[in-house]
């Protein structure tokens, strides 16, 4: 069985836990419960190469007193950068986190999600800013943990990217062994 560690990172209150909850348990709660430390969930996906287990590390959101520990990001096969569309500041936090995540986890695939698409009318993050992220070659997906919009797509895109990286690594390992 293939197992992949995926970290959810972003500012506090952007909806990381809600996205995992929607994806793993298909539920959403309106009430905000801040995450302390780490919550780990698993999701098993079937593929033609066998089952893939995603181990989802939902890391406490960054705030003035909480910084993501690089140790949590090490060993990740990919990560999801979560932005709250209604809070412009969460985009800045995400950009900063991307640099640190790349340092800690290396050049692994990641997906940027702009969450709270159900509140799109009140977004502070402008379309031009989202477009700018896409021009960097990043995968940018709008999601709503509340409605479920974009959630499967988000994990699906990351899983496909991680599996592509997995096969490339396998090939390299095979070439070395051969």
């Amino acid at each position: 069985m293939i197992q992949k560690k995926v970290c959810m990172v972003g500012a506090f209150g952007v909806g990381k836990t809600s996205l995992v909850s929607r994806y793993v348990r298909s539920i959403f709660s309106e009430k905000y419960h801040t995450t302390i430390g780490v919550k780990i969930d698993k999701k098993v996906l079937a593929s033609d190469k066998g089952d893939i287990t995603l181990v989802l590390w939902d890391l406490a959101g960054e705030d003035a007193l909480t910084t993501v520990r690089p140790a949590h990001l090490r060993g990740s096969s990919g990560y999801i950068l979560v932005i709250d569309g209604t809070r412009r500041n969460s985009l800045d936090v995400a950009l900063d986190l991307q640099r640190r995540a790349a340092d800690a986890a290396g050049p692994v695939p990641f997906v940027v999600v702009i969450n709270k698409a159900d509140l799109r009318d009140g977004w502070e993050v402008k379309q031009a800013e989202a477009d700018e992220l896409a021009t960097r070659g990043w995968t940018v997906i709008e999601t709503s943990a509340k409605t479920g919009a974009g959630v499967e797509e988000m994990f699906g895109a990351l899983t496909r990217a991680m599996m592509r990286a997995h096969h490339v690594n396998d090939s390299k390992a095979g070439a070395v062994a051969g």
């Binding site: 209150g13 801040t34 302390i36 430390g37 780490v38 007193l65 140790a71 949590h72 060993g75 809070r87």
Partner: protein, 640 residues
């Protein structure tokens, strides 16, 4: 009998420690070389949920069961190697219980007597406590973000409202200029009595509309917190007389007399905002005139018995009018309130006047109230706090302002009128008909600039808002041209429908000599032209000053004068941004250099400017800048 506790034996100590661990909901492990961890003592109940195999096989694969331990181990190794603190805790993490729900765990790396230990603690209580604190912090941070966002939105809305009002003010004033102007011109023509009555109504209605516009602008500025009070020296008697004179014309038409009385112990000269004091007096006297059919009006000023110091004053405006019913008194100073609806029908007005008075008086650290008896009359009182000012020195011989000349001299005054509105060009043409002014016209900024550069004028009237190149751009480009060619500065008067103080300051900063707000009355325009027209046309005020300068200075004087000619605009720009240091420095420089170049007038004006800047006296600065601009405009140098 001794009460000292009996020391436990070593075997007992280990058991006690393990029981203590269990009671604290902790499980202690020893790391093994193969990556497993050996549990010390019995399996705690809470751990059995996650590691049911622990009782049978104490060497456990904690990393497989608790993935977070993996990321903690690199830091834990530091502790166990004895190179870091002897105690380190991991982040908390959540584990799902088999029957649902979660438990929150936390790991500790401990080094005891050079032996490494890993302790896992079931930390639900600590988690709950920490979550409450962090959640409160997050809720507060989100609330703060919301407040900041809403505040930004409110500021943007206020700005939008302010911009809208400025635009509306401009849009209304532009046609009002034509209406009032043409009404004035019409009133001066030969009319039948019936036609004269129509024109009179025409003028009065347009005047009322303008008053209303000013009231609305005032109120919006006050509500937006943009009301800025002046702090300048003024003579109280002058302020009171002007208000009485203005309303006196209207009162006299109704057969009413206005008396003014200032108590002898009231200081003659004060520091404050004379324009706003006059505005309150005019408003109250205007109301009194409106609601009084016979009798008299009275203004009284005395020291406020409840005030602080000699410049704390109490004003009273009394009338013998219809009076106000007691139940209507409490709301009379609220916006859009009048005594009753029938008042509006009979006497007109918006109900903004007294609300504006209240705001203005409060801004001057005072209060306003009214005492009234129906059928007998009313007395409006207001208090204000001022500073006491020293009376200015008497003006020197020859500096007394002479009455401004009428524009009937034989010498023609060549004027360029640049305005994109054909109606407004027609108003100026009508106003100046029969004077010695010779007019040339430009319909846009580019044409105006070309004409200013290529033709000779004595004065220019330039509309600020023109399509393409606006008045600011025209005057800036023209001033550059003058400097480059070492020409004397032409008086360029701004014509604009913008009545805000900021607009006036912006005009002066751009290089305009003066700012005339539309609608411009005929007398105002003629007075401004007579005051600023070039030397050649000011025959009535005497010849231009011709200064004899030593020939030795001829090589350097033009550059010096070119520099000095920048000072009026530089000082006006500095005043607009409240930069008194720059003005003081400009004045100081002029004071120190003028006489050396044979121009003691520049030294004198520099001294005045420096002193005014030191006192932060905006009016005195404007006066000195005007004098300097006027001197430089009319300066004719001859070398001996």
């Amino acid at each position: 009998m001794s009460t000292t506790p009996k020391p436990v034996q070593s075997q007992d100590s280990r058991e006690v420690a393990l029981h203590l661990f269990a009671a604290l909901r902790m499980a202690a492990f020893v790391p093994l070389p193969d990556g497993h961890f050996r549990l010390l003592g019995v399996v705690p109940d809470w751990l059995r949920n996650f590691l049911p195999e622990a009782a049978a096989a104490p060497d456990l694969d904690l990393i497989e069961r608790f993935p977070l331990i993996q990321s903690f181990l690199s830091e834990a190794d530091e502790v166990w190697r004895g190179t870091a603190d002897a105690r380190l805790c991991s982040d908390m993490w959540a584990e799902t219980l088999p029957g649902g729900g979660e438990t929150h765990l936390q790991a500790w790396a401990v080094l005891v007597a050079n032996s490494p230990y890993l302790v896992i603690e079931a930390a639900d209580a600590l988690h709950r406590e920490r979550q409450l604190v962090v959640q409160y912090a997050h809720d507060t941070a989100l609330l703060y973000d919301t407040i900041v966002r809403l505040n930004r939105e409110v500021q943007l809305a206020a700005q939008a409202k302010s911009d809208f009002l400025a635009m509306m003010s401009h849009e209304i004033r532009t046609p009002m200029n034509a209406i009032l102007g043409m009404a004035d011109v019409l009133a001066e023509s030969s009319l039948t009595p019936e036609q004269r009555r129509y024109v009179d109504i025409f003028q009065r209605s347009a005047g009322s509309l303008l008053d209303l516009l000013n009231d609305i602008l005032d109120m919006s500025k006050i509500e937006a917190g943009q009301l800025k009070l002046e702090h300048v020296r003024f003579e109280l008697r002058d302020v009171v007389s002007r208000a009485v004179e203005l309303i006196g014309i209207r009162a006299a038409a109704k057969g009413l007399k206005i008396e003014a009385d200032i108590a002898p112990d009231v200081p003659a000269w004060l520091m404050g905002d004379p324009v706003r004091v006059r505005q309150v007096l005019i408003n109250l006297l205007g109301n009194s005139t409106k609601f009084t059919e016979q009798g008299r009006l009275q203004v009284r000023v005395e020291r406020n018995p409840q005030g602080n110091g000699p410049a704390s004053l109490l004003f009273g405006v009394s009338d013998t009018g219809i009076g106000i019913a007691a139940e209507q008194l409490p709301k009379i100073f609220e916006s859009f309130e009048q005594a009753d609806a029938s008042t509006t029908r009979k006497y007109g007005g918006t109900g903004l006047g007294l609300a504006i008075c209240k705001k203005l008086v409060e801004a001057m650290s005072g209060r306003i109230w009214v005492e009234s008896t129906v059928g007998t009359g009313s007395t409006f009182y207001f208090s204000c706090e001022f500073g006491v000012a020293v009376a200015p020195a008497p003006e020197k011989q020859g500096q007394t302002q002479t009455k401004l000349p009428a524009l009937h001299a034989d010498t023609p005054v060549r004027i360029l009128v640049a305005d994109d509105s054909e109606d407004n060009r027609a108003v100026v043409r009508a106003y100046l008909k029969g004077t010695s002014c010779v007019l040339d016209f430009a319909a846009d900024g580019l044409e105006a600039l070309e004409k200013l550069k290529s033709s000779h004028y004595d004065l220019a009237l330039v509309d600020v808002h023109m399509p393409g190149m606006d008045g600011h751009a025209v005057v800036r480009a023209f001033r550059e041209h003058e400097r480059a060619h070492d020409h004397a500065a032409l008086p360029v008067l701004a014509l604009t429908a913008d009545a805000f103080k900021e607009s006036v300051e912006r005009s002066l900063a751009s290089g305009f000599t003066m700012h005339l707000a539309k609608p411009i009355r005929k007398a105002t325009l003629i007075e401004a032209i007579a005051r600023h027209a070039q030397a050649g046309t000011q025959v009535a005020t005497g010849p231009a000053p011709s200064v004899m300068i030593d020939e030795d200075l001829s090589a350097i004087l033009p550059r010096y004068l070119s520099n000095i000619r920048r000072n009026p605009a530089a000082a006006a720009a500095a005043l607009a941004r409240g930069d008194f240091d720059t003005i003081r420095s400009l004045g100081h420089n002029m004071k120190g250099t003028g006489t050396s170049f044979g121009l003691p007038q520049i030294t004198q004006l520099g001294g005045e400017l420096e002193l005014a800047a030191k006192n932060q006296d905006s009016d005195a600065i404007r006066h000195a800048v005007d004098e300097l601009a006027h001197f430089l405009e009319s300066l004719a140098v001859q070398y001996k």
